[in-house]
């Protein structure tokens, strides 16, 4: 059993609180993604789990063991660094076997497992090369192999794909996902890329300013963002937001009115934010008036940016959509897909 329990962990650098009372339980074998904008504390949380950073308060348990006060090497974890930290003075083979050598495993076992690790990541032809002779993608795989051969039940990864170019990243993303299915390590994966998070995570913890804003399965977070921040961070394009209030059966704001049929009575007149995803808006013959600003054909579909009142809204339209900039059009919002947030706090409101 190698679940990870993060219990009320806080971390302060000087005067800046980097983690504020974080609680997070990660199940055995789970792929947990920490997602959030730069500076929100993802790396700090990962480093606290690794023991590279001391927590100011709270406890961290791995399996049944409280590791809060243990040194990194005693926590039985493996890690892939954002910079890879592949040792330049060792061959690929020595790098992969580094952890096993430090743990003084018998030589034949090291050789066998280095070979297995190299096979798993397609590095066999490069075993005798030095990292400087490898491409970025190959170096990244060495870092992953070095972590995997450790047989540590917990695998930590800090933006392992961020230094790869876009095409390679796509490939590596799929590779990592396949690897996780094969080896089933409990994994914490840090990224600021929401597509990566969506495609890889069993669950995603969306972080903001040192706190977890929402925790859930990818589609759950995508469909039901707990806050306006999450809705705006997850999805490409991000969720559209319109600010207004319900009056006389429609949600009315600056220069627009969206007809609403069902709504809790007590929400009448309250300042709210309406959230709607681009794929839930259709261009129709009648409905909410809007003006086209930009049309971006993206191959499979077109992304149309329109002005609703004074707010820019992104609409996902068929690729053959016949609209031009400056054209006046009408939009239809699928009412069941609309999300509501409090205008002040940004927190979701159930209707």
């Amino acid at each position: 059993m190698s679940s990870i329990a993060i219990d009320a962990v806080s971390k302060i650098f000087g005067k800046t609180p980097a983690l504020k009372d974080i609680a997070l339980d990660i199940r055995d074998g789970e792929f947990m993604v920490l997602l959030g904008p730069s500076g929100c504390g993802k790396t700090t949380l990962l480093r606290c789990v690794a023991g590279l950073e001391q927590v100011n308060s709270g406890r961290i348990r791995i399996g049944e063991r409280d590791v809060t006060d243990l040194a990194p090497r005693d926590r039985n974890i493996a890690m892939v660094f954002q910079s890879y930290a592949v040792f330049p003075h060792m061959t690929v083979g020595s790098n992969i076997g580094f952890g096993l050598r430090m743990k003084r495993r018998p030589k034949p076992e090291i050789e066998r497992r280095v070979r297995e690790g190299a096979e798993l990541l397609g590095l066999v032809p490069f075993l005798d090369r030095y990292p400087a002779q490898l491409s970025g993608g190959q170096r990244q795989r060495v870092a992953v192999a070095r972590a995997l051969v450790m047989d540590a039940p917990v695998l930590l990864m800090d933006e392992p794909l961020s230094n790869l170019d876009a095409l390679l990243r796509l490939q590596a993303r799929a590779d990592l996902k396949r690897l996780h299915k094969e080896v089933k390590r409990t994994t914490i994966y840090v990224t600021h890329d929401q597509v990566e998070a969506m495609s890889m995570g069993d669950r995603i913890a969306v972080m903001r300013e040192g706190a977890i804003e929402q925790l859930g399965a990818p589609m759950e977070i995508y469909d039901n963002p707990a806050t306006q921040f999450v809705g705006g961070f997850i999805g490409s394009p991000p969720m559209n937001f319109l600010r207004g209030a319900i009056r006389d059966g429609s949600f009315t704001g600056d220069g627009f009115a969206v007809p609403i049929t069902r709504m809790r009575g007590d929400l009448q007149g309250r300042e709210m934010v309406l959230g709607v995803r681009a794929e839930h808006i259709t261009i129709a013959d009648d409905g909410i008036p809007a003006r086209v600003m930009v049309v971006e054909p993206l191959g499979s579909h077109a992304l149309v940016t329109v002005l609703v009142g004074k707010t820019a809204v992104k609409v996902q339209a068929p690729i053959d959509v016949a609209v031009r900039p400056d054209q006046a059009i009408n939009l239809h919002f699928d009412e069941a897909t609309l999300r509501w947030m409090d205008a002040g706090t940004g927190s979701a409101i159930q209707r």
Partner: protein, 286 residues
């Protein structure tokens, strides 16, 4: 298109260094080479080298120079390495240590020699301290001409005190060039402090170690002022003999021959270091 200025700028920036090196190193070196193979009358000859080899002090100077090199350089490297690793571990107050270690850097080698003379001389600090503590009854003649071990130890201590800080500074700079991730990765993958140092830090420090060794070895072959201050001519060394032949015997040709021997030794040592410690081509990031 690059402008003319841009093309010439690198050369312009290198010029002061090249001028400096030419004036103070290259020209004297060529002159020394020429002097050493020139007969006193005229024409080329190896007479000067023959006189040098026949000199009573030559074999002693040769032996002492190598002995000092073998004793001082490893001692300094090890001391500096320990100090550098200590400072780099960023314990509380590590900055103070750096300042204290660096003090000797500001003292000239002759001054350092005189300073240690005050320690080791017959009525020096060492003897008076030992006498006050009741360890010895009579002052010990540490630097007497027949106490070779005493002289040698004093010189090794003085030289180490004087020049270890130079090595230290080079190694600290080298340590700080190693990304923190490498230390952390070593830690995380199970290396304790000692194994991390042996398997990760020292190999990554090789370029700095190499620079430190080369600089220290060059200076060790030139050890002179400290030896002169502590031992006078009781401890002949190659650089000292060059000086004596020039200043006392007034024979610049034999002096130059000594200088050429020092130069040859230096070149050989540097080649060995580059071979043994140099980065393999494959390790160098392009």
């Amino acid at each position: 298109m690059r402008t003319r200025t841009e093309r010439f700028l690198p050369f312009a920036l290198l010029l002061p260094t090249i001028a400096f090196l030419t004036l103070l190193i290259v020209i004297p070196m060529v002159q020394a080479l020429l002097l050493s193979v020139m007969a006193e009358s005229d024409g080329l000859s190896l007479d000067n080298f023959q006189r040098m080899f026949a000199d009573v002090n030559f074999s002693d100077a040769w032996r002492n120079t190598l002995l000092l090199l073998i004793l001082i350089v490893p001692l300094q490297i090890v001391l500096a390495l320990v100090m550098a690793l200590l400072i780099n571990s960023r314990f509380r107050g590590h900055g103070i240590f750096l300042y204290i270690y660096a003090i000797p850097l500001a003292i000239s080698d002759l001054a350092a020699g005189i300073l240690w003379l005050a320690v080791f001389t017959e009525r020096g600090y060492l003897n008076s301290t030992l006498q006050n503590a009741g360890v010895i009854d009579q002052p010990v003649l540490w630097l007497s001409f027949d106490n070779f071990a005493g002289i040698l130890s004093a010189i090794v201590i003085a030289e180490s005190w004087r020049a270890t800080a130079l090595v230290l500074v080079i190694l600290i700079a080298g340590l700080q060039l190693i990304p923190r991730d490498f230390f952390e990765a070593a830690d995380l993958f199970g290396a304790n402090r000692l194994r991390r140092t042996v398997h990760v830090v020292l190999p990554l420090l090789r370029p700095s170690l190499q620079s430190a060794l080369i600089i220290r070895t060059i200076f060790a072959f030139q050890t002179f002022a400290v030896v002169f201050a502590l031992a006078g001519r009781n401890m002949p060394v190659l650089a000292g003999e060059a000086y004596t032949w020039y200043a006392t015997n007034r024979n610049e040709h034999v002096a130059a021959a000594y200088a050429v021997v020092v130069l040859g030794l230096t070149v050989v040592a540097i080649i060995v270091y580059l071979r043994v410690l140099g980065l393999r081509e494959a390790e160098v990031q392009r």
